[in-house]
Symmetry: C2
Subunit: 206 residues, 2 copies
């Protein structure tokens, strides 16, 4: 049971699964496998084995394999939207808000929910059209958070590049960190990486 009050509230409202529940554990293992092998290469037998049941038993919890992918994505966006909003709300200036967003997204990508975030980015094509639309609606809320902060920075003259394009560059750059950033190998911390990102945007020295 997670200590983070934001996460606890989401579980209580049944917007995300309790990681200790059967459903929660399956989604966690699914995210790990989807990220490692890809959605298509992961079989329902792989998924079942990862939580110690037989493949037939999976379909008691989910109607289809795609349903599992969709659940991973939906719950991940819900969780991270709430975490990002909370992180930004605690900051006074737009620059501090941006730093908090970058830090939080890097944490999502490279921390506990990293596998799920990578799935969100790289397994998009495997979702049916209907499911894509549904997930996209949630993602729009998430993106609005970013744009609001970047537009404030642009209005203050601190950001000279276009806010929309900047966000897209950031999306690519931050999600890509999952392929190379290894905090456990020493060297760069998450705070250090956050600083590098802001320095790249010309927003740290000023």
């Amino acid at each position: 049971m997670p200590q983070n009050p934001i996460v606890k509230a989401l579980i209580a409202e049944q917007l995300v699964s309790d990681p200790a529940s059967a459903r929660g554990r399956l989604l966690h293992e699914a995210a790990r496998l989807f990220r490692e092998k890809g959605y298509e290469r992961t079989t329902v037998r792989d998924l079942a084995a990862a939580v110690g049941i037989q493949s037939g038993s999976l379909f008691h919890h989910f109607r289809s394999k795609e349903d599992i992918l969709k659940a991973v994505m939906v719950e991940t966006i819900r969780l991270n939207t709430a975490l990002m909003r909370a992180a930004a709300e605690q900051c006074a200036t737009p620059l501090d808000k941006l730093r908090a967003l970058v830090r939080a997204e890097l944490e999502s990508i490279n921390g506990q929910t990293g596998e799920a975030m990578a799935v969100l980015v790289y397994e998009w094509r495997s979702l049916s059209q209907a499911a894509q639309t549904e997930v996209l609606e949630l993602r729009d809320i998430y993106e609005a958070l970013w744009l609001s902060v970047l537009q404030q920075l642009a209005a203050q003259g601190q950001l000279t590049a276009d806010p929309f394009i900047t966000r897209r560059m950031l999306t690519g750059a931050l999600s890509w960190t999952v392929t190379w950033y290894r905090p456990e190998r020493g060297g760069l911390t998450l705070d250090g990486l956050t600083d590098e990102v802001l320095r790249m945007l010309g927003l740290n020295a000023e």
Copy 2:
């Protein structure tokens, strides 16, 4: 038959396939399908149908489906390494070289070879370990080009961020443009996008 002398030379040396040949056309269609549906969701029947033959006939040209994926990747890296090197060699200053590299990579990603470049980035996991090693060797040459230029910029004090990290950020940001940049819809040109990237790095106004 391509007019570009660099491409012509590569074809003459048999380092990349002639786009007009049976092999070249297949690799082009394969890149398109792998990018659109993903490698795993693309069947050998899809590949065969795209060039107007039966699936059994494919195996006269390639030993396996994975062999096709590997060929797409190998030829794409060879082609783009040559194009990037030529683009950088024509420039005098490190800043001009970087602009040329960014421009060339954006062109690769969003132009004719865009599908193949996306495959290179997003279908990495589908390659066997042995094939990954082989492709990785080629990619190291390509990346050395970038690092050399970024290190020159850092030595001159024009780049304040770390060259390695900057390249990784650029890799993510530039490859991600394939998901949103649509030059045909008007608005931003490739040169305009290149400028935005350099502005983001704080390297345009100075």
